[in-house]
């Protein structure tokens, strides 16, 4: 048994709780061990939880448009905390307004994210990507 552990949560001052619960449920059903931090999670909390649980990936949600600012520097902090090369995934309504998703994706990749998802992404897409990331 080699169950993969994923830390999930909604970053920043964002209190959108419903999607977070659905996502955590779906990922658990897909066979992952989920450490769900809920809403209003700081970067430090993501990192602390990942260290303590020896997580294999961090999945950040943001739905209120401030995701880009909230995620800034997360990769650097992970490196600093010894979470070397941990996959970082982000999704939701990451930015304000109707921006071209390719640009948004590009900026998140620049920030060190492994995968970035536009609004309305199907859960299966993310689950599939995670399985590929973990070499299944």
């Amino acid at each position: 048994m080699n169950q993969k552990t994923i830390v999930t949560g909604v970053i920043g001052a964002d209190v959108h709780a419903v999607g977070n619960k659905i996502l955590a449920y779906a990922l658990e059903e897909a066979g992952f061990k989920i450490v769900n931090l809920g809403v209003m999670v700081s970067q430090e909390e993501f990192i602390e939880a990942a260290i303590e649980t020896n997580a294999d990936a961090i999945l950040v949600s943001s739905l209120y448009g401030h995701g880009e600012i909230d995620c800034h520097g997360l990769r650097d902090k992970c490196e600093e905390a010894g979470l070397k090369d941990i996959p970082l995934l982000a999704g939701g309504n990451l930015v304000v307004g109707k921006q071209n998703f390719e640009d948004v994706e590009e900026r998140f990749m620049q920030m060190g994210f492994t995968k970035v998802y536009p609004p309305n992404t199907q859960l299966e897409t993310t689950i599939n990507d995670l399985n590929i990331l973990f070499g299944k």
């Binding site: 552990t5 001052a13 209003m40 602390e48 260290i51 303590e52 649980t53």
Partner: protein
Amino acid sequence: MKYLTADFGSTYTKLTAIDASKSEIVGTSTAFTTIETDVMEGYNFALHQLEEKIGEFCYDQLLCCSSAAGGLAMVALGLVPELTSKAAKMAASSAGAKVVRTYAFEISKAEQAEIYDINPDLVLLCGGTDGGNKEVIVNNAKKLCEIDRSFSVIVAGNKSASSDIESIFSDSEKDYVITENVMPEFNKLNIEPAKQKIKELFISKIVDAKGLSKIQNLTNSEIIPTPLAVLNGCELLSKGTEQTEGLGDLMAIDIGGATTDVYSISDGRPTFDNVMIKGLPEPFNKRTVEGDLGMRYSLYSLSNEIDLNALSEEIKVDVKDIVKWIEICKTSPNTLAKKNSIYQTIEEGLAKYALKIAVERHVGKMESTFTPFGQMYIVSGKDLTQVNLIIGIGGVLVNSINPIKILDAAKADKQNPMLLKPKQPNYLLDRKYIFASMGLLSAVDAELALTIMKREIT
């Protein structure tokens, strides 16, 4: 039934004689603790004094607790400071230990040397959720083995690392025991098994090492750490028994010579709206111990925590006199401040701050934050704002002319509304210092202990 309880403190040995048929305390006595020579000398002297007061006392059962010889000194190791390190500290404190230091992540050479200098009785080794990080706890186990001290180790971390840890310790000369993880899942506390092991090791190892074995031979009940007895007393007074109701949520604050201990018996859930709870859940029966806040042995470190000039203005005493008093207590910790002297004013001023700082470290905190959905409060730790009973323990309170003035420092103040201290507390005093005694008694006759506490703590 007649019971005798004995509390072996760092300075005093306190005896309490209880008559169950009358449901009352028939007498108390105090003598200096003689742990360096033979603990029985002090005990016999106190017993002699007691019998001079009340006549011969043939007890059916002797119950003992001890915080002598520095109490139960522990260090706690965890992984992340706010997670398993904090959980480890909470487990050790609620078992009645004095947690001298808490460490996080892999300990360094300097920290190994520090643990050597602390020379703890027990070490609590935690880290990682079950199935989580193994590396750090395993490496810390190795590093503990390198420290040439005879402490026992309680392992309460990631269960997946237990076989590795077992082989590390079994190859060393360290005494060790492995128990359930203090944090089996992220943000889930499970401190009871570790607490139980600490208690067992205290009984099997520490009692002997602290020169208490002669006392243990006198009684067939186990000697427990005094703070654990006090915590048991608090719990009984709060929850009551099956037949008799308790007093409900409460806090107790014990200002001692070496430490200031704060107890809270309350679920501590937030009592207002728009709240997000952050951080570790905290135990219903919570004890914190502040090793740097005390009226004698820790007076110097206490004085470093407070602004002496502000204190001087507040109590209208020259700063020089305050400094002088601190020096006096440092050189001779057995000094008592004379009633109504300037030194008593200083002592009470210092006690007020010891209590204030200790309570502020114990209670939860809230932060206000603005979200797109309006104002929210983030709460971490216990919300004790609605606790309406605070019990004061310790010589400085009992001997004070105005103990309420000292205890009032535990109350919420308007200047710092983010600290979740009690808003409208009533105060009671443990005038005869019976809390530990009643905590001991609660294990054998809870109803009797509750009746006496309700009568004596006023």
